[in-house]
Subunit: 229 residues, 2 copies
Amino acid sequence: MARILVVEDEPSIQELISVTLTRTGHDPLRAPDAETALRLLQAELPDLVLLDWMLPGQSGIDLARRLRGDERTRGVPIIMLTARGDEQSKVTGLETGADDYVTKPFSPRELAARIKAVLRRQKPQATEDPVEIDGLRLDPATHRVTARGAAVVLGPTEFRLLHFFMTHAERVHSRAQLLDSVWGDHVFVEERTVDVHIRRLRGALEASGHDALIQTVRGSGYRLSCQKE
Amino acid sequence: MARILVVEDEPSIQELISVTLTRTGHDPLRAPDAETALRLLQAELPDLVLLDWMLPGQSGIDLARRLRGDERTRGVPIIMLTARGDEQSKVTGLETGADDYVTKPFSPRELAARIKAVLRRQKPQATEDPVEIDGLRLDPATHRVTARGAAVVLGPTEFRLLHFFMTHAERVHSRAQLLDSVWGDHVFVEERTVDVHIRRLRGALEASGHDALIQTVRGSGYRLSCQKE
DNA sequence: TTCCGTTGTCACTAAACCGTCACCCTACTG
DNA sequence: CAGTAGGGTGACGGTTTAGTGACAACGGAA
């Protein structure tokens, strides 16, 4: 789900963290010290950095400051791992811009929760504006679809599919494009699966009096069109 | 941008907060204790109060209760500053009416984010006004819920949950959002726990003749809706 | 202290949903 | 007009997600 750089010198804790991350669907990058961390950061930017306070050589706080100073890495959120106690250094240290901190010892659950919270805070939420085409109305906020007032019941996938069509109307989308945009680019499903969902979506729409809203373009894909032909 | 009253006795933290506020375009009013705070509040109402949990003399929670008790200051949102680990105080505090919590030590970035969130959240709703939907009435001031006159008995959590739903009706809320808004951002609770409380809330409502008020949106979360389907 | 209310979590059940296939139909090709 | 490829369609496990009852931990009240 998210790439997370774990900067931690103690192997057992490193291991514990990595296992926790994997189990919660994340992708840990390991670094035992600041130098390794910086090298890894050259290659690719992670979605989050878990940073031990005490590190051999360059300390965690130095690394944090450095990350904040660099334009490229400035946006990457940081969670600090600190030992219990030592309050005042925390305050000054967190001033450098860590987004959260976890005191050792910590429970895997707590760690997971904090990571989730920080990541959630980080990412902007999707477009929530209602869309309306030809009397058909879809509202992401309320997760409702109505056809001239009458409710249309859709499954989650059909909902996303319709949302995509309505925000990209009049254009032909190949099955591959639809899989990318509606299912997500990483999943592997048969292209024909799209057909089935199109079918289900059509069924739901026709039940509400919207015929031929979604048209087939033979050899290319599908299209949502308001103008009848 | 916004006037913010900072009630904090520790000078270094007071300083840190004030600097942060100024930097994020706000206007800090400083008070080292509850008495000073009250005096400042006489003069003018701030847009938000940042309140330390532990204060010399009158404690933060006392002050919060007092602010909530006074008609004039009731609408002003409060963010509490608490020491880490004091989970219980969060719950008590939420009942007194704090809008959010920040645990010390905190990062300026986090504080800024919370303030922004609370100010944004505050705008559309007056938290303390009674809400009524479809014959169901909830009064935050008296902490009472009635369904067409008949009393509905709810636990504290179910009450907050229902309150949130009623002040954000028709919208779909994910379990994570509900945990954020009803439980508080930094409480570590399984997402499925929401389900259980939804169930309890539904049970109580159905006992009072309100069926299907809270709807499940599969894959997304829950929604309070007056319009049946 | 004991009792009671509340809460978070779990295990289990029920239901919805998804992806896939097989088969059929249609439209284009020569 | 037959052949072929692409699309429509119904059905069927398997998986995911939500509903539900039970239970232990906890704090506050008695």
